[in-house]
């Protein structure tokens, strides 16, 4: 099998991993360095950023997870890279500025320790023989020994272990070989050992959305716990795509992309907007409203607290207004002591007025007819706004699946 064929097979098997970020690390070497903000080098046909060479070391796997393309029981072409081959491709791509670094994952070959040793061998060659200073994100293999975890973490920028499903029941059903405690163990280990020389860019994980019956509340609660307990940098959500036929799996024609989108929006609210999951979801409404984003949804529920006066309300209150983000909230706070704000100024600062209009006053002025300040009117308008923004994308998605 030539290198091109191998690359094709092992990139194809790796593409369902959502993570491709290359930020959060400061490293320099004779060949390459990392950029603190990360750099996107290209964008794939699905619009996702390509920053790292995302490949598996091998797609041979002793596990039989129902949702996974590489499961043991699937009859697909298998391939395995040698560590030297991975180095050759990585270095050549990096010098040509195709990539920011390597994202190396693997199916489990022979045993977790054996697989982990192969990953370490590859990464160690890159760092020590080629003096590669670019970004490396490696997947750790659940069940591997701690000393291997220690070694791998000291060579890479980011380490991750995918939790895949938010509840143990879900995991038992679809990934009988996987053990949630082993993933927990990795996350705990990385949290306790993280330093400038050990996984400097932190750890992340991923969950599949829509393969089981778990609610958004289950998913977001899991995320919140992981952010709090393991100081994760990111949780990625990946809309389930039917790659396998199995009685236990839903047969979805269209991946639940809108749901995935709402989960990402909520994830942002948790990490940057000081929201808690309990603010957004509860047992009575355990799923997000698919029609509007979670922040709008929250604001509509708390309409009695609005409108907020932007010239006096707190940073935290500003953050919770739909159409105001972190940047614009900071700009408002910074500048409002220097001059009197107007709606035009707000627009200049990046506030999305077509959403924020309903929820704010500026110097006591409400920008639209105040008689229209009622939930039904606002909700209808915001649903429409959301739809307009997504219309083209949705149309395209629909067309694709009707073909």
């Amino acid at each position: 099998m030539n290198l091109n064929e191998k690359l094709q097979i092992l990139a194809d098997s790796a593409k369902y991993d959502a993570s491709c970020s290359s930020s959060g690390s400061k490293r320099t070497s004779s060949l390459g360095n990392t950029h603190i903000a990360g750099i996107c080098h290209s964008f794939a046909s699905d619009g996702r950023c390509i920053s790292l060479l995302k490949i598996l070391l091998t797609n041979i796997c002793i596990f039989d997870c129902k949702y996974c393309l590489n499961r043991r029981s699937n009859n697909i072409k298998r391939a395995i890279f040698t560590p030297e081959e991975i180095c050759e491709i990585t270095i050549n791509f990096y010098r040509r500025n195709y990539i920011e670094g390597l994202f190396l994952s693997s199916g489990i070959i022979n045993s977790p320790d054996y697989t982990m040793e192969l990953l370490i061998k590859t990464v160690s060659l890159l760092r020590n023989k080629y003096h590669f200073g670019g970004y490396i994100h490696a997947k750790s293999i659940p069940g591997a020994s701690d000393y291997l975890l220690k070694k791998l973490g000291s060579l890479v920028d980011r380490l991750s272990a995918n939790i895949e499903l938010p509840t143990e029941n879900g995991l038992k059903l679809l990934a009988p070989n996987k053990d949630m405690h082993k993933v927990d163990h990795i996350m705990g280990y990385v949290r306790d050992n993280r330093s400038r020389n050990y996984v400097p860019a932190g750890q992340s994980t991923q969950m599949i959305i829509g393969a089981t019956h778990e609610t958004d509340l289950d998913i977001m609660t899991k995320s919140e716990n992981m952010y709090n307990n393991y100081k994760l940098k990111r949780v990625f959500y990946s809309a389930y795509i039917s790659v396998n036929k199995d009685a236990l799996l839903p047969s979805l024609n269209i991946p639940p992309l809108k749901r995935e989108n709402r989960l990402y929006q909520a994830d942002w609210l948790l990490r940057y907007y000081n929201f808690k999951v309990s603010d957004l979801l509860d047992q009575d409404s355990p799923n997000f409203n698919i029609l509007v984003d979670p922040k709008v949804s929250w604001s509509l529920k708390h309409l009695d607290e609005y409108p907020k006066e932007v010239t006096t309300c707190s940073y935290n209150e500003l953050l919770k207004v739909p159409g105001i983000g972190i940047t614009s909230a900071k700009r408002i706070i910074k500048s409002r002591s220097h001059f009197q704000l107007t709606f035009a100024d707000l627009k200049k600062m990046g506030v999305v007025l077509k959403r924020a209009n309903y929820f704010i006053t500026c110097n006591g002025k409400y920008n639209i007819n105040s008689e229209l300040f009622n939930k039904k009117f606002i909700e209808a308008n915001l649903v429409l706004e959301d739809r307009k923004e997504n219309a083209e994308e949705n149309m395209h998605q629909l067309r694709l699946f009707h073909e």
């Binding site: 369902y16 060949l31 390459g32 080098h41 290209s42 964008f43 619009g47 500025n97 809309a239």
Partner: protein, 251 residues
């Protein structure tokens, strides 16, 4: 009469001119690069700017942030960038470092907007530039950015590809950045002309591998060309090796 001050297009002399104008309380109608033809009512004034020799003093006085913004505006192709910088500095001497918070002033919001635009394009180019390996191991890239970001990206690659010889050519401005493993120099294209670029032996193989990877990594069930194009505008495609064939296909 419109008083239009002329400078040679260099940042140093723009600073010299700005110093002179601000110091002497002169309100120019416009400031333009040499070669500006002017209209019927324009009165063109060209001073001996080297003599003023105040650019260093001005840089010191203004500090890092302000210089960063006005330098980035200077690198843009904005029609009236010089006069925007003039008004920005005029207000800076009036209000001091708080100026950047006063986005209600047009010169401030414009300066910050343009500076951000240039910074964003430079950041994009750090990702989109594609090197080809030539026969003698030299890496060669060409691109055509909207703004003059060659120096910014050169600084980036000086750190990143410190142990390589590389060349980056700006096709729009006909300038080329040359790195000799120590520092880079930006020259006019005529001063440095390679008539033929011979590719190294494994160059085509690497391009092929990259093309394979690129075509494989997209998930077809999630195909989203609009999103792809938002992030990677078509104007850059001719210089992005995995996209350069796409232009003909989709048109």
């Amino acid at each position: 009469m419109n008083n239009v001050y002329i400078y040679d297009g260099s940042f140093i002399n723009l600073l010299n001119l700005l110093y002179y104008l601000l110091k002497n309380n002169i309100r120019p109608t416009n400031i333009k690069k040499k070669g500006y033809l002017g209209s019927l009512f324009d009165y063109l004034i060209e001073l001996d700017l080297r003599k003023i020799n105040k650019s260093d003093a001005l840089i010191k006085k203004l500090g890092k942030t302000v210089i960063h913004h006005i330098y980035y505006v200077y690198l843009s192709e904005e029609e009236n960038k010089e006069i925007i910088i003039y008004y920005y500095l005029l207000n800076y001497f009036k209000y001091g470092p708080n100026l950047n918070k006063m986005r209600n002033l047009k010169c401030v919001s414009e300066t910050l907007r343009i500076s951000k635009k240039v910074g964003n394009e430079a950041h994009k180019m750090k990702g989109f530039i594609r090197f080809k390996e030539l026969k003698n191991n030299i890496l060669y890239a060409s691109f055509a950015p909207d703004n003059n970001v060659l120096e910014i990206v050169s600084l980036h690659f000086k750190k990143r590809l410190a142990n390589e010889y590389w060349l980056i050519k700006d096709e729009k401005r006909k300038i080329i950045s040359i790195y000799d493993k120590k520092d880079f120099y930006i020259l006019n294209e005529e001063m440095f002309n390679i008539s033929e670029y011979i590719l190294s032996d494994n160059e085509l193989e690497m391009v092929n591998l990259w093309q394979t990877f690129y075509n494989t990594i997209g998930i077809k069930e999630r195909k989203n060309p609009r999103c792809q194009m938002n992030f990677m505008p078509k104007k850059y495609w001719p210089y992005i090796i995995e996209m350069s064939g796409e232009n003909e296909k989709s048109c």
